[in-house]
Symmetry: C2
Subunit: 329 residues, 2 copies
């Protein structure tokens, strides 16, 4: 090495100068980058679903429609509030007559990428999910028959359903409500986060601390469950959340192995979707990561490790969709 230094001194000095202007960590990161996927602009479209402009527009109307709730003031957008990361930022969903549910409201953002819907995965896709809150007595509290009757009162809806489902004789149906809302929701994605830009080659998109967080995220095994384009495997994992008695997936399957298991939540926009966990009992990301380390990894993160991981998670906030509130009939 000393020979190298002597004979190539000038070249080494040039190289050193070049290294200073390039982020030092970048070249180390290619193995890590290879373990992630940038977010596509559109999620997979299930068989039988169609992303026509007419369906998306009808879905936008229905998403903001409070008259398919018993009170007339609660819509999908009440709890999946576009102003609040398409969730509600309170511990547990609050619906009809102020009733408070058992679980934290998941964001709609990028939810089309999930292969299991709800914390307990009781529905596979957005179509299955969409009709749940309308009927839940503590959410919108309306039967599907009532909802369909209400929509049929408006000529504008009759026309919008006919345009969105041109083959149907009687298009105002629960199934079509679900298809339209799901079509709209599949447009609510948040690409081009700093993390995505980093994965796509912009090595300045993450700072050193965020890159350190990314390495810790991989090296400590967070990525085992938080994998794929939205950093969720859509699988169920047991988790003892202090204070929670919610049996999670077990309530769907009755299998003991599913007791206290919940579907891995997406980490996309996780900085915006506080509070955390199935009952929303953890306010901030640092505490959430710390708890995950203890519970899932059996590992106590150091303070500076927590900060790096949180800085990395902050980089998962993408571009919010620009959705104008529709003018309803």
């Amino acid at each position: 090495m000393s020979t190298f230094h002597v004979t190539l001194g000038a070249a080494a000095a040039t190289l050193a100068a070049a290294l200073v202007t390039t982020p030092v960590l970048a070249d180390d990161m290619s193995d890590y980058v290879a373990m992630f996927e940038p977010l596509p602009h559109i999620p997979p479209i299930p068989e039988g679903a169609t992303q026509s402009p007419e369906r998306i527009e009808l879905g936008r109307m229905l998403f903001f429609e409070p008259r398919i709730s018993a009170s007339g003031v609660i819509s999908c957008a009440t709890c999946h509030n576009p102003a609040l990361g398409w969730t509600d930022r309170i511990p547990r969903g609050t619906g009809h007559e102020g009733q408070i549910g058992d679980r934290n409201t998941p964001t709609v953002l990028n939810s089309g990428f999930l292969e299991a819907q709800f914390w307990d995965g009781r529905e596979d896709d957005l179509e299955g999910q969409a009709l749940g809150p309308i009927q839940a007595s503590i959410e919108m509290n309306m039967t599907l028959d009532q909802a369909i009757s209400r929509l049929n009162e408006f000529e504008v809806y009759q026309e919008a359903f006919a345009e969105a489902f041109p083959g149907d004789n009687d298009p105002v149906t629960p199934r079509n409500v679900a298809l339209a809302i799901a079509a709209f929701e599949r447009t609510l994605n948040t690409p081009n986060s700093p993390f995505d830009r980093f994965l796509m080659g912009d090595r300045d998109a993450l700072d050193d601390q965020q890159q350190e967080g990314m390495r810790l995220f991989v090296d400590n095994g967070c990525i085992a469950c938080h994998s794929g384009p939205i950093l969720s495997d859509s699988q169920f994992h047991r988790f003892e959340l202090p204070g929670s008695t919610d049996e999670g997936r077990f309530l769907v399957t009755g299998d003991d192995v599913d007791r206290f298991a919940f579907r891995t939540p997406t980490l996309r926009n996780v900085a915006l979707t506080y509070p955390y966990f199935n009952n929303g009992s953890v306010d901030n990301l640092k505490d959430a990561v710390n708890l995950m380390g203890q519970q899932m990894l059996g590992h106590e993160f150091e303070a500076d490790e927590l900060e790096s991981i949180v800085a990395f998670l902050d980089s998962l906030t993408g571009e919010m969709p620009h959705i104008e509130v529709p003018v309803l009939p």
Copy 2:
């Protein structure tokens, strides 16, 4: 005159041809047109208020902010819903824990033009109005101290208030909340309705039936109270609404003369702001006009008169403001 006819026969024929291509009713309408005013794009700004972009932006955030409600899910936009003509289209406002108030929610659209706020005029201006629903136990149910503490938790709000109120040492105050919300609300106007375009000289903007409705509106005296740019005199008038026991303005002044008196509502966008009257008990515009004829004018409108007046009122729907839901901290 006959001499005139003979000597200027050719010219008269040309003139007659020209008249045929102009709507026949238009020239009859100039006296009527003179009794109305097109809607300005911005209402008068009261002394002490300022329409700075920073205040309007802060006001937009606060208008959509549910965390200044006890439940964390009710914002100004819950009842003044942009999707529903900036009102709620249910008979009476529904707020905290599903409680139902006594009165119909007035639209925010063009409300800066009103010189008396609320159905009973208990506040003069939008600043006075803005803090009412936050504190009302059946609406957002939060003390102003709680609301200010909540907002102060967010650095983004501390900065936004400092930018909107650059002279203030401690800008996160109830007064500044009111000033910001009012500044935003003063941007929510609906100019360029067919009616406005007609007033400004586009004689094709109203069809014959609508022009007939305009004449009936004036000739029968509706315009006595529904006057000025938003078709409200901002004054209080006694009115016996079947089934209503609400004493209205009397509850504010204690004067017998004010018993059952309510402030004249704007007719701007009245086709969008159903149901009607102080308790929202009348579903459609034809019934509302009929009742007004009976109660205020002692007059039974004929069926075709009602239709013409409703057609005229439909022409008062203007261009909706395009407001994007803000991204809140």
